[in-house]
């Protein structure tokens, strides 16, 4: 069975600095997808970034980028130039072909961006 682990329950960063959230996963599959979702306080959960396992190039979306290490089964999220609006809970999620579309989530990391 696949598992996803986020080992940092809480993190904080100063505005404009860079922060990295860690995520590791376990799977025997070779073709799968990884996602980072964010849920701001009292707001809807939205997709931050996604990575296809067959792609070697790390995904990037503006200030958000990932460091995908397939062999190590690691999928960290880097937020550059942190903004106050990045304050949220961040969830790492795994999706694979054998999972019928369901996502397996990590425990979440609460990120506080301080002014």
């Amino acid at each position: 069975a696949q598992t996803v682990t986020q080992s940092q329950p809480e993190m904080s960063v100063q505005e404009a600095e860079t922060v990295t959230l860690s995520c590791t996963y376990d799977t025997s599959e070779s073709n799968y997808y990884l996602f980072w979702y964010k849920q701001p306080p009292s707001r809807q959960m939205i997709l931050v970034i996604r990575q296809e396992a067959y792609k070697q190039q790390n995904a990037t979306e503006n200030r958000f980028s990932v460091n995908f290490q397939k062999a190590a089964k690691s999928f960290s999220l880097k937020i550059s130039d942190s903004q106050l609006g990045d304050t949220a809970m961040y969830f790492c999620a795994f999706g694979g072909p054998s999972n019928t579309g369901k996502l397996i989530f990590g425990q979440g990391t609460t990120l506080q961006v301080k002014p």
């Binding site: 959960m45 997709l47 019928t100 579309g101």
Partner: protein, 114 residues
């Protein structure tokens, strides 16, 4: 384009009562998922609809939970009778089609069972 909506946003009920949660997916999305997050723990999958059919209900905790998606549009999740451990946030998500598609989440329903 309207996003995924859920109703109610909050529900507080007594143990033993019945509660029905509703999810309206993004129009045209065949895939609809229910997830649950119990306080402080990870978000866990409950079940997956493709149109009106249950594709995967392996995450449903027990037979007190009943999900339906009549006509392949909105879905309901009924808990009857509710127990204390059912408290949590229930999320609904939808996606257009393939398993690799991004899932779009609703705001969640916070259920509190007293």
């Amino acid at each position: 384009e309207a996003g995924v909506t859920q109703f109610p946003s909050h529900s507080v009920i007594e143990k033993g009562q019945t509660v029905t949660l509703r999810c309206d997916p993004i129009s045209g999305h065949d895939n609809l998922y229910w997830y649950r997050r119990v306080m402080g723990k990870e978000i866990k999958f409950l079940l997956h609809f493709v149109k009106e059919s249950k594709q995967d209900e392996s995450g449903m905790p027990n037979n007190r939970f009943l999900a339906e998606r009549t006509g392949g549009t909105y879905s309901t999740l009924k808990v009857q009778p509710a127990e204390l451990e059912d408290s949590g946030v229930y999320f609904c998500a939808s996606s257009p089609g393939a398993r690799s598609d991004t899932q779009y989440f609703g705001p969640g329903t916070r259920l509190t069972v007293l």
